[in-house]
């Protein structure tokens, strides 16, 4: 079998960790229509955004370094649904500036993705990542768990070069208005419960995913 390298990064040392970045990932199912590459309009709108803080940290498994985070943004994005159709092969990676976005639902049916953008929290308890500086974009098809800082930086640069830019102040203000007041929750479970409500609201086709997050937790 021939190895298809849609991108070839080889091994990169990031933060002291050797990352085997996909040298043979193809996100293109053989018989499916060619998956669109990241394009203008890939992330079409920021529909809602709210800062959150976690009393108990959570591990961000969506990048190779696996950083812990205590806060960030819970967002609802309108995206090109073709880019988030679930497949077993590699999919375009949703990013916000220099960070990967944890997608809490797929979004292929609704075109809406509820996601977590981890961020360091500032002294005010709010994310240091400012939405006004956060360009949302899709990187190349990959497994998010395998991409690291260098890969993200490269994809961010590529997105910028193809014209991706942060949303405007009005859009951000509207999204912040939809998102409501900053959230402080005990742990990831509580954050999931809030996020599940957003899935039910914005992507009701994925009720099963929301239901999964709403099963009462036996502690």
């Amino acid at each position: 079998m021939k190895l298809i390298a849609t991108f070839l990064l080889g091994a990169a040392a990031i933060g002291g960790t050797i990352l085997l970045l996909e040298s043979r990932v193809s996100g293109v199912p053989v018989e499916a229509a060619p998956r669109p590459s990241a394009i203008e309009g890939e992330v079409r709108a920021l529909l809602a955004a709210v800062p959150f803080a976690l009393e108990e940290p959570w591990t961000h498994a969506w990048r190779a370094e696996r950083p812990e985070f205590r806060g960030g943004w819970l967002v609802v994005l309108e995206v090109d649904p073709k880019l988030v159709e679930p497949t077993e092969l590699a999919q375009p990676v949703l990013c916000a500036a220099g960070e990967t976005v944890e997608r809490l639902n797929h979004g292929h049916a609704s075109g809406r993705v509820v996601g977590i953008v981890p961020s360091v929290l500032g002294p005010d308890g709010l994310p240091e990542l400012e939405l006004a500086r956060a360009t949302f974009y899709f990187g190349a098809p990959a497994l998010p768990e395998a991409v690291g800082a260098r890969w993200i930086e490269r994809e961010f640069t590529a997105a910028t070069q193809r014209g991706r830019a942060p949303f405007g102040a009005d859009a951000i203000a509207a999204a912040r208005g939809q998102g409501g007041a900053p959230i402080v929750v005990r742990d990831r479970v509580e954050l999931d419960r809030l996020a599940a409500q957003w899935i039910l609201e914005h992507a009701p086709e994925e009720k099963a995913r929301a239901d999964q997050m709403l099963v009462p937790v036996t502690r």
Binding site: M1, K2, L3, I4, E22, R24, V25, S26, V28, P29, V30, E31, A32, W58, A61, W62, E85, P86, T87, E88, L89, A90, Q91, E102, R103, H106, L143, P144, E145, A146, D187, R188, V189, D192, A208, R209, Q212, M213, V215, P216, V217, T218, R219
Partner: protein, 691 residues
């Protein structure tokens, strides 16, 4: 008919062979000395008359009649709706030829029980009375009367022994024949494995937190049961943990506890493996609270099965690999507790270093019509078979023509992810899965003996009542045992890579054409036929894997012969000759006739005798690849390997003079005289198997 021409071969040793190849000595050099020896065959030890033994003599008796030589297959499993057939080869037991005998079918007894109590008590109320013929096994083949229960409760198969009471004294004595004197019964009657078991099932949803959501199935009366095996299901990307009702309800109805968990597949395989590992631990550690503690004390944490689908199918291999490598240490179970890993259409992102089942018993499901994990040579990630070949323990696979990626789960609203002709419905695939899954789990969790036959006998001849039987249902099975099983591997092509020597160090001779030995890895990105790409259609290995085999073809009568090392020529302790083979997709020799491929298998002994059996005799040959297009030009998908096992005793049928104690060569004859007129074949793992 060539394959049944045993008398001819006895008249002139090697003459049949000579017709096929022209020069017997150049093909079977070990013949030279043996032909001069004049030594008489000594036959298979276990069935030879044993006048000093006070108990009944061992004999294979139960099985099913075949339409051509060897005319009867001694097998151990049948369903309760099928007749029980027995046969005696009068050339093997000439002293009973022509006799009127009583045939008793009894509840299985251990050897100690037989020794203590040889009195016969028929499970049907009374024995059959048959008068044996004198000429051949066909004249001594009978269908027994009466009904035999297959209800073994939560177990699979009720064991029965068969006694041919020659002296008709109602006791199993020295002149009688017995099938089942041992650990294994003479045969087993099985309830339909596709149908629900005897237990009612309760399903509960549970959450222990983020990525600790679990959909749990357990027998409703679990309080009355002992400790039950745990089956963990890890779904695929875009799938949901509630989509595996068919697995959960089926296995729980047969006495398993099934836990399907939320699987963190979107980030990748590592995260998916983490949720498999952590959910297994969490479940075992929280039984006192899960579902009100109803399962507490009823889960056998030393009998765990991991089943994963797609990314989850690779994830379960990765999970095992992480424990194996010491990068993850479970709290409440160990590597040895994982009795079986089963991957449904798994991806292969991580390759041999990351997705490796190592020494786990491993099983693979493949759908020929899968349009997600496609199996096309263009993308290593979308080819599942390398995971199978990485297992160093018992490993087996089942491939369904026409099954899409989404047909393996049970969500009726989801896409089948299927493309190709003759597509199977989700209900059909779910049913076929259940039929195979039960014996698979029983085999590796409970060591169930009859379950083994379900893993290798061709689907055409052993399929549960309830499975679909339309012409679109085509199934391929592989069953491979590890070296520790004690089999004698004549050639697995992993060492001694010259084409004229086997991995066991003995000569290999052939006149089949375009013979190539190498890695079972399609050399390019499609399945388009090319004469310069001999391993076209092979998806058993990536460039990092080492699985090797051979490919060759014929358009007229041809042969392939493996000499057996001198130290291994006494095969009398081995029950089966086994190999695996596949048709090579899209080759003109494959597409010349769309259908199973047939050829002849030959044993030759040191006395110049030979005996041969046609592969078709057992009801199926080597399958035509699924006629799916794309992945280049032409029709036909991956090369579909199938295991073929032939009982060694079959070569001795009807007086064939073959000495299983002195087998010098295993040969294969191809071409119009011996089977399919033309063909192109992949071949691997030739061995004598103990069981």
């Amino acid at each position: 008919m060539p394959t049944a021409s045993v008398p001819a071969s006895r008249r002139a040793a090697g003459s049949v062979l000579t017709r096929g190849i022209g020069c017997v000595l150049c093909v079977f050099p070990s013949f030279a000395g043996a032909q001069q020896s004049g030594t008489q065959p000594h036959g298979a030890a276990s069935d030879a008359p044993q006048p000093l033994v006070r108990r009944a003599r061992d004999a294979q008796l139960a099985g099913r009649a075949l339409l051509q030589y060897p005319f009867f297959e001694f097998v151990g499993v049948s369903f309760t709706n099928a007749p029980v057939q027995i046969a005696i080869d009068p050339t093997r037991f000439p002293e009973v030829a022509g006799a009127t005998v009583d045939v008793w079918i009894l509840a299985h007894r251990t050897p100690a029980e037989w020794d203590a109590n040889p009195v016969l008590v028929d499970a049907r109320g009374a024995p059959d009375v048959f008068t044996l013929g004198t000429t051949d096994v066909q004249s001594c083949t009978f269908t027994t009367a009466g009904v035999l229960s297959g209800d073994a409760g939560l177990d699979l198969g009720v064991g029965y022994d068969v006694v041919v009471d020659v002296d008709r004294d109602g006791r199993a004595g020295p002149v009688d024949l017995i099938d089942g004197y041992g650990i294994e019964a003479g045969f087993y009657r099985c309830m339909p494995t596709a149908l629900p078991g005897p237990l009612a099932v309760t399903e509960v949803l549970y959450s222990g937190g983020t990525w600790l959501g679990e959909d749990i199935y357990y027998p409703t009366n679990i309080a009355a049961l002992g400790q039950l095996p745990l089956v963990v299901v890890s779904h695929g990307n875009g799938h949901n943990y509630t989509w595996y009702d068919h697995i959960g309800t089926h296995l729980a109805s047969w006495g398993c506890i099934v836990m399907s968990h939320t699987n963190d597949t979107v980030p990748g395989i590592e995260t998916a493996s983490t949720t498999t590992l952590t959910n297994t631990d969490h479940f075992l550690g929280n039984l006192a609270t899960i579902a009100g503690g109803v399962m507490n004390g009823h889960v056998d944490g030393h009998k765990i099965v991991w089943i994963g689908h797609s990314r989850g199918g690779e994830g379960v291999c990765r999970a095992y690999d992480r424990i194996f490598d010491g990068t993850y240490t479970p709290v409440r179970y160990t590597l040895a507790d994982i009795k079986l890993i089963s991957s449904i259409a798994p991806t292969d992102f991580l390759g041999i270093t990351g997705a490796n089942p190592h020494g786990a018993n491993y099983h693979l499901w493949v759908g020929g019509a899968d349009s997600d994990v496609t199996g096309c040579a263009s993308n290593d990630i979308a080819c599942s078979y390398p995971l199978l070949q990485r297992s160093t323990s018992y490993h087996q696979s089942i491939e369904f023509h026409g099954a899409g990626h989404g047909a393996f789960h049970a969500d009726a609203a989801s896409s089948l992810w299927a493309t190709g002709p003759c597509l199977l419905t989700r209900a059909e695939v779910n049913t076929m899965m259940k039929a195979y899954l039960l014996p698979l789990v029983q085999r590796y969790v409970n060591g169930n003996l009859p379950a083994r036959e379900f893993l290798w006998r061709q689907w055409e001849v052993l399929q549960s009542p309830g499975v679909p039987t339309n012409t679109c249902v085509v199934v391929d099975l592989q069953y491979i045992e590890p070296p520790a099983a004690g089999n004698r591997v004549i050639d697995d092509f992993q060492t001694n890579t010259a084409t004229d020597v086997s991995s066991s160090g003995a000569p290999v001779t052939f006149d089949v054409t375009l013979f190539n030995e190498g890695r079972l890895d399609d050399p390019n990105a499609d399945f388009t036929y090319s004469a310069s790409a001999p391993f076209n259609g092979m998806t058993e290995a990536t460039a990092s894997d080492t699985t090797r085999g051979i490919v060759f073809q014929w358009t007229t009568d041809r042969f392939l012969v493996f000499n057996v090392p001198a130290a291994w020529q006494d095969t009398s302790g081995y029950e089966y000759l086994s190999f695996r083979a596949c048709q090579v997709t899209r080759a003109p020799e494959t597409t010349a006739a769309l259908g199973d491929l047939d050829f002849t298998v030959v044993l030759l002994d040191g006395h110049g005798n030979e005996s041969s059996v046609r592969v078709f005799a057992y009801g199926g040959g080597v399958e035509e690849p699924y006629q799916r297009t794309s992945c280049g030009t032409g029709a036909g998908w991956n090369n579909e390997w199938e295991t073929i096992r032939i009982r060694m005793q079959d070569f001795t049928r009807n007086g064939a003079s073959i000495d299983l104690g002195a087998i010098t060569d295993v040969g294969f004859r191809f071409g119009p005289t011996w089977g399919s007129a033309v063909g192109r074949l992949g071949f691997d793992d030739l061995q004598f198997m103990l069981r």
